[in-house]
Amino acid sequence: MNLLEVQNVSKSFGSLVAVSEVSLNVAPGELRAVIGPNGAGKTTFFNMISGFFPPSAGAIVFDGADVTQLPAYRRVEIGMGRTFQITEIFPELTVFENIRIAAEVAAGYRLRAWVGRQEASEIKSRVDEILSLAGIASKADRLVGELAHGDQRAAEIGMALALKPRLLLLDEPTAGMGDQETYEITNLIRRLHRDSKYTIVLIEHDMRVVFHLADRITVLDQGRLLAEGTPAEIAANEAVQAAYLGKAA
């Protein structure tokens, strides 16, 4: 059974139609890339999946359950983790503290006024685990706001991981990064996909990243589904090439 099924969703803002009847099915363990020229409606699409706002029409089914009207924080609880185009972290807290908050919420401690020693050390080891998975263990005590862009993104992904998600939604994870940082983040995502077997849906503009990572690719253009298929199929697809013609990737 598919982990995520997006069925014919549309979104309009007044008379502006941002997304029109797009469907998407993601199998467990799959890495799906969503691409398309600027203004294709990719982020709006993502926002609907993660619960930022509900779709104007259509349904979203996660692991067999209809989550279309579920608020964002509830979707996090049932297993959707998300990162944002502009890194959303807690700038004046350390990397460790950032991830610890996520881990505590995941453990159900968000209303707790007190944690016992045993519980605290369990949380600590979980955070350490994620820090090394994301490759930022050496920076655990630094303020996230002071880190380089790539490390901030890794920290943000770490926060999403701490929630024990079954699905990771990554919105342009390599946005604004240089070659070295792009390389590192791409490797991180690949480790998460191949080794830790996370199901991942990501929006990307950088085609090198897309073709390097994706099992399948969905192409949106002007709010509509243009094409879907394996990287090889998409690379050969003329309509996709035409949509991108003249627009910087």
Binding site: S50, Y73, F84, F90, L93, I101, L111, A113
Partner: protein
């Protein structure tokens, strides 16, 4: 076990508590007096309670004096009409302020930012208005009086907090300690960390699975609880409660104490309260236009010291590294870029 319970910055804490414990003895040496210290503690607790919401959760309430005043009225009403027990009075004041805060907080928590602040101001005025108009019960503009704080009986001893200023100071200090310890405890807990998360990045907090409105409501209620404790003590300090303890002028003063002392620091608001209360005390005895001076304090601190007194330390550090970077840019070989 004890070693782990001791927080890392215990020397700083020990120094702070030493200063507070010995205040009745060192204050007269520099021209102060014990009652001033008591006032500083009361407003310090009020400012710290407000800062629980403002500095640590990132939510501005500009009508918080309503709960401060309710604490005073609650305490006064018990002492005047019901029973002469200080502890009961405190409990009543806290209960009144906390319940009011919980109810009103639930009403306005969906809004944020400027709109939320406006609602808190307006609701604060509701209580001012009630205290003012319901004069048969509350004494109206003259305030609720007379009542006075009752001596505390601890078994065989009676602590006379009515006429003994020093004994009263220590009583207030004890209540202050309880309030401060509780708030510190909460801020260090997982719940407290969710509040920091909300302050730092509300969207991210929401996407970590934190129900924002609910947590803000809880922070609001906790903050009202401790500010009403401060308010109840204020009632005891003055032996009366009047509507001015509730109005937005009072709210604004408490906010400026928190900002002046440093919103991001736990103890900052106490420092701010110390400065403000002392300044107000001094100025009002010196000049009739002390109001303009206080107004200047607001204006100047907002324009030039937004991070507050305890925040200046942090700016110093960044100032130093800034100089170093500038120096290295200009070719000075001795300083390295930070």
């Amino acid at each position: 076990m004890i070693a782990q319970a001791l927080p890392r910055n215990w020397p700083k804490l020990a120094a702070i508590w030493a200063v507070l414990l010995l205040a009745p003895y060192w204050m007269p040496l520099i021209g102060g007096y014990t009652a001033l210290g008591t006032n500083v503690l009361v407003f310090g607790l009020a400012a710290m309670a407000l800062n629980f919401l403002l500095g640590f959760t990132g939510v501005l309430s500009f009508g918080h004096a309503a709960y401060f005043g309710l604490g005073a009225y609650g305490a006064g009403l018990i002492l005047k009409y019901v029973y002469s027990s200080t502890l009961l009075a405190l409990a009543a004041g806290v209960a009144l302020g906390t319940v009011a805060g919980a109810l009103l907080g639930a009403l306005i928590v969906r809004r944020r930012g400027v709109y939320f602040a406006m609602c808190t101001i307006a609701f604060g005025q509701v209580f001012y208005y009630i205290a003012f108009q319901w004069s048969s019960f509350t004494g109206g503009d003259d305030g609720l009086r007379p009542f006075q704080r009752a001596p505390i009986s601890l078994g065989p001893w009676t602590v006379d907090i009515l006429s003994n200023q020093i004994a009263f100071y220590y009583f207030v200090l004890a209540c202050f300690a309880v309030g401060v310890a509780a708030m510190a405890f909460l801020l260090r807990s997982p719940f407290g960390r969710t509040l920091l998360a909300i302050r730092e990045n509300e969207r991210r907090a929401r996407f970590l699975g934190i129900p924002i409105e609910r947590h803000i409501w809880l922070a609001f209620t906790v903050s009202c609880c401790f500010i009403s404790l401060a308010g109840a003590m204020n009632g005891l300090v003055n032996n009366f409660a009047n509507p001015r303890m509730l109005d937005y002028n009072q709210s604004g003063q408490i906010v400026i104490m928190a900002v002046l002392g440093g919103m991001r620091s736990f103890w900052g608001p106490l420092v701010g309260a110390a400065v403000f209360v002392t300044l107000q005390d001094y100025l009002s005895s010196q000049t009739q236009n002390w109001q303009s001076f206080l107004g200047m304090v607001f204006v100047l601190s907002v324009l030039f010291f937004p991070r507050g007194i305890l925040g200046i330390r942090l700016s110093m550090a960044s100032l130093k590294s800034g100089w170093a970077q500038l120096a290295s840019l200009l070719g000075s070989p001795r300083k390295d870029a930070a």
